[in-house]
Symmetry: C2
Subunit: 321 residues, 2 copies
Amino acid sequence: MIIDNLIEQIRKKNNPSVIGLDTHLDYLPVEMRAGIARELPMRTIPPFGGWQVVIDKDRLKNAIWTYNKQIIDAIYDIVPAIKVQLAYYEMYGVEGIQALSQTIQYAKEKDLIVIVDGKRNDIGATATCYANAYLGKTNINELEYKVFDGDFLTVNAYLGSDGIRPFLKCMEEEKKGIFVLVKTSNLSSGELQDLRLENQLTVYEYMGQMVKKWGENFIGQYGYSSVGAVVGATYPKQAATLRQQMQHTFFLIPGYGAQGGKATDIQTCFDKNGLGGVVNSSRGILCAYQQEEYIGKSFDIAAREACIAMQKDLTSVIKIK
Amino acid sequence: MIIDNLIEQIRKKNNPSVIGLDTHLDYLPVEMRAGIARELPMRTIPPFGGWQVVIDKDRLKNAIWTYNKQIIDAIYDIVPAIKVQLAYYEMYGVEGIQALSQTIQYAKEKDLIVIVDGKRNDIGATATCYANAYLGKTNINELEYKVFDGDFLTVNAYLGSDGIRPFLKCMEEEKKGIFVLVKTSNLSSGELQDLRLENQLTVYEYMGQMVKKWGENFIGQYGYSSVGAVVGATYPKQAATLRQQMQHTFFLIPGYGAQGGKATDIQTCFDKNGLGGVVNSSRGILCAYQQEEYIGKSFDIAAREACIAMQKDLTSVIKIK
């Protein structure tokens, strides 16, 4: 079970955190992103017809990849997992996806668990494509090859079981996992998720019940399932309810740091052995070098120190046994 | 308003359909996909260490792109729009995304409206990345460039307004649109969507109300908003309810053909002028050449004839004025 591998990494490193590589080019030191985009005249001979933005594709890809590699090199020995947010790579088109692919591969070489954050969802046949892309294998003329090969994928279950089953099938075959959105960290998450159903459950509690059911056949040796749930750090009360209702469900917990969630808010997500969740921080780590306390330090050194600070903060309240 | 452009294309071509380019390599004629994947020995000198699958990346990209181009060439004068399902391109990794990018660009050159089907969803900062990627512009060092440049993107609103607002902002700036998942076409869509809330609305009706609100400032000259809704052809009763409750919301209607939805099922989605929705077919068109009735015809000719058959079927019950 992949969830056991994640938990073992967390125990070994005494660190229940995952670092989000949501690599926005604006986060990079200026010198790393110089010259990627240039404005050139539309025509070089008269009549001139305005200007166009030309992208140096190799520089674009290399900037994102180099930044990620240096971050990974700086932190791989102290954190159990990274999370790649697909939106940030898709935003840079084909070159972003190339950098993503290299990043996932490199993180796995460094024995990091890779959570692909895509919040994917679709009908069965299409969900199968997503499962193949991010967790399993794509079939071409009867031959199978791995495409992105992440360990976990985040998914959205608005479409119900049909859209989840292809991931479960892929999990069985490939020893992978998913995290299903249950209670998200954003301000408006309650607009739909907190509504109460006729059966007295809220939408997020109902979603939690479905997640529990989907995860039943994937419970590993620590009592947690490879079908996990996304539960925001910004809603400690709801998280506590869910922890009680879903004792075998591991939580991916966004919202710590930049979004406002504190270690004490998160405590209720964990069991008496200090297990039960992994806490994400993205900007707080990637952009640490821009913070006053790390001034003068390179981005990778600052990221490492911020990871250590986060580990200390979390383990001051979460005692991992 | 982009919705007006879509409606004008529908009226001009007297065709309320959108063709889904969900290009699975298995759909291609054997000769177009030959030689893309090969099995080679891991080592060429002894001791031999098993086999590995090697992908000819240029052939992979070109096969998908060539197929799509030939389909577009065969149908662009008779259909108003195409829909690209991202999962199918992501499944082929970087090369899939390259083919996607070429396909979108080519379809736009042919004056087709391009609906990007990604069902994307995330918190605000991340939703902004998705909006930039598929509808707007990505900023690099203060310079902006278009990445995929679709006309519409499908989105999932489980996260509430925060996750939608970045798309609305992008729509204002770029004259683009979205379709929000309301009632999906799959068998299990009711597991969550049909549940009744304390306020007596079902989840899908409540979602419909949110979509209506988000769309208020984007209503075009035909009375429809550029914030549309995904409403499955497979649930005619629910679709009829939604049409009544959302008179300014245009529907993207999947589920026709391969999924079982019939023209008569879809009728209730349309207003007295034959407007109000666009009906998707993917496999039914792409794989028409494998059907008995088109035997001996090339895939593109068969696709064109299947589009004409679909147009006739739809317009037999939907009279566009």
